[in-house]
């Protein structure tokens, strides 16, 4: 992005912040008495349902996740997390600022296909969504946020790691609570070697195993940038195509190079294939680790991999298990959906918490007004292992963090930094 473009984006965001409450109130006053609150945008029409008296009855959040296809296992759980966050808000009395209006979630299935990301966003907006969240896959999220931008509808990313999802695109309506790829790789390079060395381990060489799409490539590039700064040399790289059914060759390549650590960056299936191939070839590096990999946070995947998964260090977004609220949310999720709430699922919940707080602070269902609130929001009451969620000019969270998790007794536990640690690292 050129400096001129950057400047334009900054100016736009500053303008949004300065517009403030007066603009919100003015926009909120557009409510009609005919049963619908309608705000025309360049991208179509957004609707918040009202009763005959003009009070808002419900505000709609659009959930754009892969509900079918190869990523559906995680996508469905993320979609359920969005619904749970809305349900808990409704049980607590709904949106107070809107007279107790219900939070309604409508879901769209992007099938994990980039070509459907934008289409699903548009469909959700057409169905009345005031704000969107999604999409788990970085390529899909790129398309989905573009459509939201055209429709001037705010989009809070649930999970998507690629820096380019937000950065360099001049987006004014997209926000991301989780750390982007560059930040995750930087946190990996800083924290994981430190944890290993502090506990008597040695780490000087690394092999990268990554899924070959924008998310995997982004992490790979950033790891290549940050690892040498922390005394770790990348000696081998090997890629897995998305949807592959074997990682045998990739593991052979890693085994030949024999680095101190193998760093996996994959979706759930890729990490399972990696573990399986390593066991088949009787190979495990001194430190099996991961950066931004969903596999080693996923309860079902860990159960599938078995004891081999124990000890894996994975720096990724995580839930803050040091607070009671997280335990309550996890228990509610398990009771309702009979599944564990892992990191990705938790981040979908967090994104919805951010959205709900923004709607509450805005007191309106108008997307433009909600977007203004999001641009300056401060969210402390959330379940992620990170500080206050505070979006910068580019929509990234200034306090995003990717703590170090370790698989212990087939469960992912935060082991570093100490502020969020629920267990001691075992090296």
């Amino acid at each position: 992005m050129s400096k001129r473009e950057q400047s334009a984006v900054s100016s736009r965001r500053r303008y949004l912040k300065l517009a403030g409450v007066s603009g919100v109130a003015a926009l909120a006053g557009c409510s009609g008495g005919g049963g619908e609150t309608t705000t025309s945008t360049s991208g179509g029409t957004t609707t918040g349902t009202t009763n005959g008296g003009g009070n808002v009855e419900e505000v709609i959040i659009g959930s754009n996740h892969p509900l079918s296809g190869g990523l559906a296992s995680t996508g469905v759980k993320m979609d359920n997390a969005v619904k749970l966050a809305a349900q808990r808000k409704n049980e607590a009395g709904g949106i107070e600022a809107l007279g107790g209006a219900d939070v309604k979630v409508i879901s769209g299935d992007n099938q994990g296909e980039q070509s459907l990301g934008g289409q699903v966003s548009n469909d959700l907006i057409d169905q009345g969504a005031s704000v969107l969240t999604g999409c788990y896959s970085s390529p899909v999220t790129t398309a989905a946020t573009q459509a939201a931008e055209r429709a001037q509808t705010p989009f809070v990313v649930s999970v998507a790691a690629d820096d380019a999802v937000l950065q360099g695109r001049g987006l004014d309506y997209s926000y991301r609570p989780q750390p982007p790829a560059k930040r995750m790789a930087r946190d990996y390079a800083e924290y994981v070697p430190e944890v290993i060395r502090q506990n008597g381990g040695t780490i000087e060489t690394a092999g990268l195993f990554y899924v070959n799409n924008s998310y995997g490539q982004a992490i790979r590039e950033s790891l290549n940038e940050y690892l040498p700064q922390n005394g770790v040399e990348v000696t081998v790289e090997t890629a897995l195509e998305y949807g592959a059914d074997s990682a045998d060759t990739q593991v052979t390549k890693l085994k030949q190079s024999d680095p101190d650590t193998v760093i996996a960056t994959t979706y759930v299936p890729g990490g399972v294939l990696l573990s399986q191939a390593m066991q088949d070839q009787d190979y495990r590096p001194p430190h099996l680790t991961a950066c931004a990999s969903a596999t080693f946070l996923d309860d079902e995947a860990l159960a599938d991999i078995g004891d081999f998964a124990n000890g894996v260090l994975d720096n990724n977004y995580a839930l803050n298990n040091t607070i009671d609220k997280t335990a309550a949310v996890r228990e509610a999720f398990r009771n309702q959906y009979d599944k564990g709430m892992d990191g990705s699922t938790g981040m979908a919940y967090v994104a919805t918490e951010v959205i709900i707080q923004a709607i509450e602070e805005t007191g309106s269902t108008d997307p433009e007004a909600i977007n203004e609130t999001l641009s300056s929001i401060q969210v402390d009451d959330h379940i992620a292992a990170m500080g206050t969620i505070d979006f910068q000019e580019n929509g990234e969270n200034a306090n995003a963090l990717a703590p170090v998790n370790q698989v212990q007794d087939l469960a992912a536990k935060v082991v570093y930094p100490e502020e969020y640690a629920e267990a001691q690292p075992q090296i």
Binding site: G70, A72, A239, T252, L273, E300
Partner: protein, 318 residues
């Protein structure tokens, strides 16, 4: 002068990225690097699985000229049948694969009689749409029944180690089943009356009708056998991989590439095509950066279509 020098260096560096992998292979071959044996083993195992997944597709096309987009989901039905039989009745996975073969044969016959036979003489695109529709219906039914979560039959096949070469047993069984299936079906087609009728129909449908062959019966039996082969492939894959309702798409794409390479309707072609893809994938992912081996596969695919559109064994049905 300097910019011109830079302009020369850039293509040189790009050229080295293409040349380096091939020099690495040459170095390993000349140095008798033991890793080559491991790669050959993996290529054979992967090729075997791919060949197995393509057999049913090539049979249905060879006899009936039907491009079956539901082939991938047939594999998935085979996987789930194996799962249900194994986990519900505690049956040995290999017996469960046998059940999957029977289930898929019945499904293939029913599907053919209900939706394929009525449109056999319709334009080709109708068959594509109908089989694509069947794919979505079956996939949705599986998703409703089992959910989107990956499943596993929990079969621990273990690994065989021979002279430092690791051979995952699950894949070895799949390769054995691929070879066995090919031999059995080939013998059936060569040495039985029904097999000869199928080959006759594949060669000349009109002629077959004139000599008294019940072509309608041959059609549904062929579709059933093709589906049964897909069931065998799906059950075999379930021995060593997790799967979900959407696992069929990867195998479907590979199967199409293999069938075009080997020759539509040719069993040996399907086997050779599978092996070619297996070797390209294994050696390509080891020596080439990223997943650029896919470029080689599709260049080969396009090249085959341009130079020998009938495929390597084209014209030699079944």
């Amino acid at each position: 002068m300097i910019p011109a020098f830079g302009a020369v260096l850039l293509p040189l560096s790009m050229l080295s990225r293409f040349v380096d992998p091939f020099s690495a292979i040459l170095r390993d071959v000349l140095g008798l690097n033991p890793v080559l044996l491991q790669l050959v083993a993996f290529a054979l195992l992967l090729g075997g699985v791919y060949a197995l997944t393509a057999l049913g597709l090539t049979m249905i096309f060879g006899v009936m000229d039907v491009i079956n987009f539901a082939h991938g989901i047939f594999l998935v039905v085979g996987m789930y049948t194996t799962l249900v039989v194994t986990t519900t009745f505690g049956v040995n996975p290999f017996l469960a694969i046998g059940v999957a073969v029977v289930v898929l044969f019945v499904l293939g016959v029913v599907m053919h009689l209900s939706i394929i036979e009525p449109i056999l003489d319709a334009p080709d695109q109708n068959q594509l749409i109908v089989t694509l529709g069947a794919l979505f219906v079956i996939q949705s039914v599986i998703e409703i029944g089992f959910g989107p979560d990956p499943q596993s039959i929990g079969f621990k096949a273990g690994t065989l180690e021979v002279a430092g070469v690791f051979i995952p047993n699950g894949r070895l069984y799949a390769l054995a089943l691929a070879i066995l299936a090919m031999v059995v079906v080939w013998a059936f087609l060569q040495y039985t009356d029904l097999g000869r009728e199928i080959r006759g129909t594949a060669n000349n449908r009109i002629g077959a009708q004139y000599v008294g062959i019940n072509v309608t019966r041959i059609n549904y039996l062929t579709f059933g056998i093709g589906a049964a082969l897909a069931g065998l492939a799906g059950g075999s894959v379930a021995l060593f991989n997790r799967f979900d309702p959407f696992s069929g798409s990867t195998y479907l794409i590979n199967a199409f590439v293999i069938v075009v390479l080997g020759g539509l309707g040719s069993f040996p072609g399907a086997f050779l095509g599978g092996m070619i893809i297996g070797f390209l994938q294994v050696f390509g992912s080891y020596y080439l950066p990223g997943t650029t081996y896919q470029i080689l596969i599709f260049l080969l695919f396009i090249g085959t279509l341009l130079v020998k559109p009938e495929g390597i064994f084209g014209g030699e049905s079944a």
